[in-house]
């Protein structure tokens, strides 16, 4: 595989990582959604490129799924939810943006540190892997630093973008397509859940009344 292929794959993966940081940085719901859509599109591109590079046409399906579902449908749906449940636009963060950024950088460093010494694995996959790992960790970080349901979903989805990136990066991995589909189903479930159960601030309050009524024996702790 030529160095051009390598460069392009690298570039795309890098772009995704940068976009993860942008996601982490954003503090307005709509902006977050748009950035995510962008990341999904980049993912689709990278997957498509992998399908070319690895000469494995079935990856095109994955790319298409990523593009359609995560690039357009889900962001649109989330936009709708934001409007319907009139979630206030500001996202309150658990820890300050600066700290989050630093943590994110630390995570990237960690993931490179982890993947770098990995030996015989060919160079593309290794680079991709580092980026993918970073994206995954950043997604998780986003999930736990945001109090807002929608942004948490976005966090999960960007995490899952990282997975798909890694999966497609892994040469000739079977069932990748199925996996991507399965994940899309999962995401659909989550979005559906948010919408049906009218979850506003946090995942774990279905309804404000639920808070004091229950939450695992709170009512009768000693």
């Amino acid at each position: 595989m030529g160095s051009l292929a390598f460069d392009i794959a690298h570039l795309l993966a890098g772009t995704m990582l940068v976009l993860s940081f942008v996601l982490l940085y954003q503090d307005r719901v709509t902006a977050v959604l748009n950035v995510f859509a962008l990341q999904a599109i980049v993912l689709a591109l990278s997957v498509a490129w992998q399908s070319v590079a690895q000469a494995s046409p079935h990856l095109v399906v994955t790319a298409a799924v990523a593009l359609v579902v995560k690039g357009f449908i889900v962001p649109a749906a989330l936009h709708r939810i934001v409007r319907k449940l009139d979630i206030h636009r500001e996202i309150e963060q658990v820890i300050g943006g600066g700290v989050t950024m630093l943590a994110g950088l630390a995570l990237v460093a960690l993931s490179i540190l982890l993947v770098q010494p990995v030996g015989e694995v060919n160079i593309i996959t290794r680079e991709d892997l580092a980026f993918a790992l970073a994206v995954v960790l950043l997604g998780l970080l986003m999930m736990i630093t945001r109090r807002n349901a929608v942004t948490q979903i976005v966090g999960f989805m960007s995490l899952e973008n990282g997975l798909v990136l890694a999966a497609t990066g892994a040469k000739g991995m079977p069932l990748v397509v199925e996996f991507s589909v399965a994940f899309s189903v999962l995401i659909a479930f989550i979005v559906f859940g948010v919408f049906v159960f009218r979850i506003r601030e946090r995942f774990d309050t279905v309804d404000v009344s639920a808070l004091d009524s229950f939450r695992g024996e709170r009512s009768d702790r000693i």
Binding site: V118, P174, F197, I199
Partner: protein, 480 residues
């Protein structure tokens, strides 16, 4: 090569049952069909014992999974019997509607199918699919009562489960990458037996990195602390049959997946010593659950925590490694799933006759329902590790063999077990003895599954069939 008919049945029967049960409107017929399907699956599982071991790149039957297949299908079967009577009562009390019952039964079969797939898969990806589907189907059933608590529990389960799934998937990719370098692209690089055979040549770093993700991912399903959060609420809020299969089966299947990967790592001496990590996680789970037991007020949540405790013990055993400890771990998994499901059967009866799950409102069971009290007490005593029940045997081997190797760890284990013991007996006495509280109306659900399980646990505590011992020994060696 030909796939034996039993194997196909194991997968086809539930698959067909899903569709049928989704269509059947009459709930009695549905329950009956559910039992029938489970019976057929169980039969197929037993039949599998008599076919020669086989493998393909997708499916495999070996000493390890064949036993768990039988166990899983068996408990699935008994639970379906229990569920049939239990659900009828739920319908009378109006907590469920026939429509939801159709959904419930379909999901039940979906879960069985998923677990069978996970157990029989000879493919790291397929097992992942199995566990994920099993999780999703149980999520559906946990939330089936649609009370705020139930939905919250289901939601918590769902989110944490999804994150777990994602991480496990990343781990799977990493293992594949490690294997692909040696075994080339495609299915072989994901097949258990090939992985184990060639693990020595894999890149140890990649494997270790992958295992960490798998540990967190599948560990969430196993319910190891600190990944346990979903488990207590899911057990407490779902229908009791689901609590039984969650504790009895799903945790086992997740641990089974983890063990498969541990085998691969064990085959490569250069890789990270995951045993230590598992020991630490096991001890954390044990102590955490043991102390949490004291403050429980909800009877089902109580035993959910006890499941965390026992999964911790099992993880500890496999972490210790060595033929004795691994043997103990396998025995412990088996005994725990049998005992715990039995306990949940009893708890289901109790909750139905007393109309509550709050321990404070249950008392003097031995006065109002002597038989039920006996069954329940035996279950709790067994889970607390008292002889002559099976868990005593496994803990006996584990503790004594550990003490000879790592005295400090053994002492820690003993302390944890003792703390948990104290809590369990305390609650047991609250429930079974003292002045009777609550209604006295008789139990209409059937006691058969409860006492069947208890009998099995009792026999296993006194005598194990040579075949089972043989399988366990073989697997224990593989687990390193």
């Amino acid at each position: 090569m030909s796939v034996p008919i039993e194997l196909l049945l194991l997968l086809l029967v539930p698959a067909v049952a899903i569709v049928l049960l989704a269509l059947v409107t009459n709930y009695r017929l549905g329950a009956a069909l559910n039992v029938l399907a489970c019976a057929l699956t169980f039969g197929a599982g037993v039949g599998l014992l008599f076919v020669p071991r086989m493998r393909s790149d997708i499916l495999i039957v070996d000493d390890f999974n064949i036993f768990f297949v039988v166990l899983t299908t068996f408990i699935g079967f008994t639970t379906s019997i229990f569920s049939a009577t239990y659900i009828a009562h739920e319908l009378e009390t109006g907590r469920l509607t026939p429509l939801f019952l159709r959904f419930y039964h379909a999901m039940y079969q979906a879960m069985m199918l998923a677990m069978n797939v996970a157990l029989l898969a000879n493919n790291t990806g397929l097992i992942w699919v199995g566990v994920e589907v099993a999780t999703l189907s149980t999520v559906m059933m946990v939330g089936i009562y649609r009370t705020p608590e139930a939905i919250e529990a289901a939601w918590k389960y769902f989110i944490l489960g999804s994150v777990g799934i994602a991480l496990a998937f990343f781990g799977t990719i990493l293992i594949y990458l490690a294997a692909q370098e040696v075994l080339g692209e495609g299915l072989p690089a994901m097949a258990w037996d090939r992985l184990v055979q060639n693990a020595a040549r894999f890149d140890p770093r990649m494997m270790s990195l992958g295992f960490v993700f798998l540990l967190v991912g599948y560990g969430t399903k196993v319910g190891l602390a600190p990944f346990h959060a979903w488990l207590p609420d899911a057990h407490a809020e779902g229908p009791t049959p689901i609590s039984a299969v969650l504790s009895g089966l799903l945790l086992n299947v997740a641990l089974y997946a983890l063990l498969r990967f541990k085998m691969v790592l064990a085959a490569n001496p250069a890789s990270l010593n995951v045993g230590a990590i598992m020991v630490v996680l096991g001890l954390i789970s044990l102590f955490f659950a043991a102390f949490m037991l004291y403050r429980r007020r909800d009877i089902k949540r109580l035993f959910a925590y006890s499941s965390i405790e026992h999964m911790g013990v099992a993880a500890f055993a496999f972490g210790m490694g060595g033929p004795l400890a691994n043997f103990a771990g396998l025995l412990h998994m088996t005994m725990h799933s049998l005992t715990k499901s039995a306990i949940f059967f009893a708890v289901g009866h109790i909750a139905q006759v007393k109309g509550t799950q709050r321990i404070a409102e249950i008392g003097g069971l031995s006065v109002t329902h002597p038989v039920l009290a006996v069954g329940f007490s035996f279950g709790v005593l067994a889970i607390a590790g008292l002889p002559p029940f099976g868990i005593f045997a496994s803990e006996f081997i584990l503790i004594s063999s550990t003490f000879a190797r790592q005295p400090v760890l053994a002492v820690l284990l003993v302390v944890g077990l003792l703390v948990a013991f104290g809590a369990l007996i305390l609650r047991l006495q609250d429930i079974v003895f003292g002045d009777p509280k609550g209604p006295k109306d008789p139990v209409e659900a059937s006691y058969v599954p409860l006492f069947l399980h208890l009998a099995l646990v009792l026999v296993a505590g006194l005598w194990l069939p040579a075949a089972v011992v043989g399988w366990f020994r073989a697997v224990a060696v593989l687990l390193g």
